[in-house]
């Protein structure tokens, strides 16, 4: 039997075993911490993470199509519909025809959309400041570099 625990009493087992030794588990816990703070931060502007990210891509890439947004966020086209619906109902984004391809819908931010995004982005910067304030500037750069390296190294993790 591999798990002979007869010599270990109660909780004396070191946390070098089990979940805590796994990078993936620590990654999950950190992701959840950061996500919760992110969500709470943007709740004031009534923006969910999904809606914020779609707004961001629209503002930063005026005229982008829905399919392209879905591709960049790695979600299904079908799932994006309700997100754009929300942005359009709130007057932050407009669906407009694409000349040359009558299937596609180009997404354009409204003035209010740009304003809302600018405000939200400031909120997000404050959130990042808070969420990672236990890291030094060098450590944050390290973190970003490691995350980018993992994304670049995983097949299909480009965008």
């Amino acid at each position: 039997m591999k798990h002979d625990r007869s010599e270990i009493k109660g909780d004396a087992r070191p946390n070098t075993t089990g979940l805590e030794q796994l990078i993936g588990y620590n990654l999950k816990r950190v992701y959840m911490l950061v996500r919760d703070d992110f969500r709470a931060s943007l709740a004031g502007d009534d923006l969910s993470p999904r809606v914020f990210s779609a707004l961001s891509l629209t503002v930063e890439n005026e005229g982008i199509t829905q399919s392209e947004v879905a591709r960049r966020l790695s979600i299904e086209r079908s799932g994006l519909v309700s997100i754009i619906d929300i942005l359009e109902e709130r007057g932050l984004v407009q669906r407009m025809p694409v000349k040359g391809d009558r299937r596609a819908q180009a997404l354009h931010p409204t003035f209010k959309g740009n304003e809302t995004y600018d405000r939200a982005l400031k909120t997000v910067f404050k959130h990042e400041e808070r969420a990672f304030d236990m890291l030094s500037s060098v450590e944050r750069d390290q973190m970003m570099a490691l995350l980018r390296k993992i994304r670049a190294g995983s097949s299909g993790g480009q965008d």
Copy 2:
């Protein structure tokens, strides 16, 4: 207007703006990549991430109560019930009475539970090897250290 895009044509905008500059967004994308590979890895043993983590805590802390498992995983007690149900139905874990507190249920791994965990843990190690194989040994240690520092620095992120 802050977002004057008149001087930027098409997609020429550098990706130092928007989502890609955020640690949180890169964290999310990496988490999703790793989670998908983790899930696919354990699918062969018919274990979801949730079930695996509960099994892990049970094997590593024989006699742990449901409430304690929920606390350590930062999920609600109510959500744990179905997870333990699955483990018990599959004969991997047994609910047993706690002497001195008749409200509590102590969780004990069965022989099969220990076996299954050992096998699953090997699978998970292979998954981690694969998911982070673009990082050097030093970089993996860096990553782990950074993640632990973030958890330690966030209020309530101890366990």
